[in-house]
Symmetry: C2
Subunit: 669 residues, 2 copies
């Protein structure tokens, strides 16, 4: 009874995050993050690096209107430049991709406006749209970096200068803002810019056969196609995907120096080392990889390209089977912010960029859309509750770029190998990709929790939400992520109509009750005559009713595959979708002296960290004796370490009580 129907996301307007955990998070985005980020991109956050983002748009607009002369082209084009006090009005400041900060803010604002009407926010956003449109050239081109600094350089460096990346974010924002407000000014700007690109880049003889150095345009174009029905955009997305990695390498024309070995970082960094359909190992910059794979899954679905989806599946296996942290973080190494090789998952030097975990959620949702399988949703949930949320402080006011699984402050301060690790979240970054990425994901979380395929509504993630599908209201109420029990209420299902719920059986449960019965596992469910598909429990509904559910949520001790050298002999603690960690604040310093006893008793308790309501876990363990004055090397003698209780808190809540030691993996007795 396998179905090949693809899934579609629900318009955000039809998903109300009604309460509980995710209501708190989306409220935080609305109340704190969006206003804060607005101040940041307008250079109004004290003590934070100025963004210059909004000023760049203003300057570009003035240049286009002939009100300002263009500054000379600076020598080093890749470094953020300080504002030139001599001619402040003609200088571009920041990274080549600085424009994207405003686009991401606008996208997040759009999601917020969908759920929480706010005239003041909409006024700001409308102003931002005006500013963007004023910086668009007559021919449709829109990029302040090139307009201000180097108009002749347009599309001469697709690899490194992020024009198509900024275009992608512009387009995401434009569709979201149109869906939120019905206003199509930015959507039309994006369409005009897309048209300009499609004219310059493509398979034609006079065209550039290039593709984005930093992917995202692929999924943005797919989205633009879905929003407008204009097939040109899907074709451009497909062109980018098909062209990537073909030989002769397009980037070798742009950057002839160093051309050669396809295994070299220069190709792998952008996943351009070989055609994407031939790729089976995730390499290079992790965020780029996630965005590419997301775009591939979109194009596979929209063009019914099973071969392309197969490539996605192989890459998925590689990422989630060999290269993903237990938190859903991806990208093990700071060198190139990249995937390391299989099973190389160091805890203390992990890069695990917040944006990469966000990207993994994007990709997982698209895999689910192509062909639902609860394993994609398991990963999506893991990343969302752990490696994504850890990127933001509980008060929404500071952010992590990297998300290590072990932190010893003294170590990070003194060891240059950990120079990329921050001990507490930062207000803002010169390269501020992560904070607004969090805002746009959390603000649209409803599009990840639910998809539909015909009459079937998929509940990938359980959360307090009210979903409306063809006039039928499906209300979920539950205590996730702390409690796996709740109710699904169906209202408005008229006689003769049919709605099928596909409820994911999460990987973390031991047994479950759904719709009156209690089951050991999927096998039991099926053996007792219930329908299922790829890890989803199917419930056929023909009238309004309430479906109670309860997924058991035991404390689990998890180990890594034994190929993961860095986790050998260690265990992690999880409960439901939440991965836990030990913090010095609860367990004292020198956390590596602790050992977990997985045979001892465990307890859970409701607790609070900085106002965040959580469930804390306590397990049995021991603490080995510290010996700061002891010999560096000594004969081994059997010893009796001191029994202790280990207190575990959700990983995403770490580093909210100041600098302190943390670790996810704990040596096992």
């Amino acid at each position: 009874m396998a179905s090949c129907r693809h899934g579609e996301t629900l318009p955000l307007r039809q998903v109300e995050i009604a309460g509980g955990f995710w209501r708190d998070k989306t409220e935080l985005i609305r109340r704190e993050v969006i206003p804060y980020q607005w101040r940041a991109i307008n250079d109004r956050v004290e003590g934070a690096e100025p963004s210059w983002c909004m000023r760049n748009f203003r300057i570009a607009g003035r240049i286009l209107r002939g009100e300002t002369e263009r500054a000379v082209k600076p020598e080093n084009e890749f470094r953020p430049l300080p504002a030139d006090p001599g001619r402040p009005e003609a200088t571009f400041y920041g990274f080549a991709f600085q424009d994207s900060d405003l686009f991401k803010w606008l996208e997040a604002a759009a999601y917020s406006l969908t759920q929480y009407p706010d005239p003041e926010l909409e006024r700001l956003a409308d102003g931002a749209v005006d500013l963007i449109c004023a910086a668009q050239r007559e021919d449709g081109y829109l990029d302040t970096y090139f307009t201000i600094r180097d108009p002749e350089g347009v599309f001469t460096d697709l690899r490194d200068r992020h024009e198509l990346y900024c275009f992608g974010h512009l387009t995401e924002a434009a569709v979201a803002y149109w869906q939120a407000t019905g206003k199509d000014r930015l959507l039309n700007a994006a369409r005009r810019y897309a048209g300009y690109i499609a004219g310059r880049i493509g398979p034609g003889p006079g065209q550039l056969h290039g593709y984005p150095g930093h992917e995202i345009a692929e999924m943005a174009l797919a989205r633009l196609y879905e929003a407008t029905g204009e097939r040109a955009w899907l074709e451009l997305a497909k062109f980018f995907i098909d062209e990537r990695g073909r030989r002769p390498y397009y980037y070798d024309r742009e950057h002839p120096e160093g051309a050669g070995d396809p295994a070299a970082e220069r190709y792998q960094y952008q996943q351009a080392h070989r055609p994407v359909r031939e790729q089976d190992e995730a390499v290079g910059h992790a965020v780029r990889a996630m965005y590419l794979y997301s775009g591939m899954a979109d194009v596979a679905r929209l063009t019914e390209d099973e071969g392309l989806f197969e490539a996605c599946r192989r890459l998925w296996s590689d990422v989630t089977g060999r290269k993903m942290y237990i938190t859903g973080g991806v990208g093990g190494t700071v060198h190139g912010e990249a995937f390391s090789h299989a099973y190389d998952l160091p805890a203390d030097t992990a890069y695990a960029e917040t944006c990469a975990a966000v990207g993994l959620v994007f990709w997982a949702r698209r895999m689910l859309q192509y062909r639902p399988d609860s394993r994609y949703a398991d990963v999506m949930e893991r990343a969302l509750y752990n490696g994504v949320l850890s990127g933001m402080a509980l008060d929404g006011k500071s952010f992590f770029y990297t998300n290590p699984l072990e932190c010893v402050p003294e170590d990070c301060r003194r060891d240059q190998r950990k120079a990329h690790i921050r001990l507490v979240r930062q207000k803002w970054f010169g390269c501020a990709c992560c904070p607004p990425n969090l805002a746009r994901l959390i603000g649209s979380v409803g599009q990840y929790a639910f998809t539909r395929a015909g009459d079937r509504l998929y509940l990938h993630l359980l959360m307090d939400a009210a979903v409306t599908v063809d006039g039928v209201r499906v209300e979920v109420s539950c205590g996730m992520p702390w409690d796996g029990a709740g109710t699904i209420r169906i209202r408005g299902l008229e006689r003769g109509r049919r709605l099928e719920l596909a409820l994911r059986l999460p990987e973390w449960t031991d047994h479950f009750s759904v719709d009156g019965g209690t089951y050991q596992d999927m096998e039991d469910w099926i053996a007792r005559g219930r329908a299922a598909e790829e890890g989803y429990l199917l419930l056929e509904l023909e009238a309004d009713r309430d479906v109670p559910f309860a997924f058991s949520m035991p404390v689990r001790f998890l180990r890594a595959n034994r190929r993961v050298r860095e986790a050998a002999g260690q265990l992690a603690v999880a409960r439901g979708p939440i991965v836990y960690c030990l913090e010095e604040a609860d367990n004292g310093p020198e956390l590596h002296l602790l050992r977990l006893d997985p045979t001892g008793p465990t307890e859970t308790e409701r607790a609070e960290i900085c106002g965040e309501r959580i469930v804390a876990v306590t397990t049995a363990g021991v603490r080995e004796a510290d010996e700061p004055e002891g010999a560096l090397y000594a004969r081994h003698r059997p010893e009796e370490p001191t029994p202790v209780r280990l207190r575990w808190i959700p990983y995403y809540t770490w580093a909210n009580r100041g600098e302190n030691e943390m670790r996810v993996w704990c040596r096992s007795l």
Copy 2:
């Protein structure tokens, strides 16, 4: 009964390495390493980077004689430059310190000539001396880098351009060659250069108040003083030591950019962050640190400066108590080839440069000279047999620069964090400091094994050797490092004379027999009326006789101090002074799946690796199941791993059977 008499080394001519392990090693140096390195510095090793070292001397000589015009000053002074085909004769090639390669070769040749007369080698060495002398300016200055490239730059960059470093190696070679051959031509050249330096640098008002960026001149000047009795050289050494780290920083005058925080790498790198007497933590470049501390110990001894020695003791405690690998390797991080912070001793990214272990041996001997204490000799022995010897292949034909304690070839190839790790030893290096440093240390090992203080002969290291002290011959025969038993024969001790042997009680023994009795430990020895001092067993001899000894040599399981996070829960294996490792060649791949059972039976057996006679160790253990296809994360279940025998080989013999996995630390059951 503490004695304050300082020790002195024995003239190498009076120490005959008579047989056994060290005879094999010194023979290897004579037969393989010295000829090989001669070819290397003469650019005659196929496939190796050309050294250009000898050519630089020839070019400098021609320039000084007016036969060649000086090449223009190249732009980048710190990078090795390829030879300029247009004017090959006027170009300096290589690092600023390239001269030192010849000096180190000459020093090693001198030691060899002392023990193995060889007219052909002496002819080559004499020719090299001529070449060096021809490159000396009339005013005594001698450095081909500046003579060829930048004569006006002399002493303008003491921090980075290694003039005083090259001077130090010149002086070491000059004294050694004079002691070996009685020829004083190079000695006089060194004295003239020293005189030039003492004129330009010093405390006087018109002088530079500088000091070496890379230390070694301090100990070289002390040696020159001891060889010539000329006090000026000791005073210059003392000036360098006293001036280092004083404020205002001398280097800030040379390099005003970036001056500031004393904790910054720019000062710590050269141990110039504060005056040396105030230093109590080893920081910065590890080789530099070892050389500085060696020079400090020399100057402390020669000037009776107890305060300076106290600084050495504090630094010794920090290095050997908190920052030394179990192999005696030092310098935990590739960043700045430097000491990391206390207890930060990662196995797989270890730098542990061969030269730094060599330097630790230099320093330990000098600590022993100031005031004997068996703990210094324990460390000296540990470094010598492990972190030093691992730098050279068993056939003497290739070398390691870095010496990790764990190696997974795939990891090193793919992980840029391990880019400094080599999987097999290399033929030669662009920066070829380590190979000749090994040659000069091993060639003079007799000066480390024995020192004297008046009538007392210290036996710091047991080896097959015959030592002559004031006409008395002391012959040691034993099976070290594999067997701790042997005999000391005294011959030629006339009536009425007295010789005291100070025999180190090594840290690695469990019980011992010496001179007829059997003892549990030092306490037992003293309780039974025998004399001892600072870890040395004292034997008063008044006539010729044989002293049998036997130090038990159990297989030891060692753990690191619990502050060493990287070794938590792991054990190392040692026997006598030898630290062992597991290699894939003996134990299969995925060595991290092995766990050592320290309660199980162990065996030792005589074996061979590539012709090297060793004792291999076999211990009990288990191998956890590999699961290349398993899930990345899974519920923990108690499991029964497979019992296996673990085969351990001496660490210094690793990587002689091709690329393969290796590890020193093994998880314990």
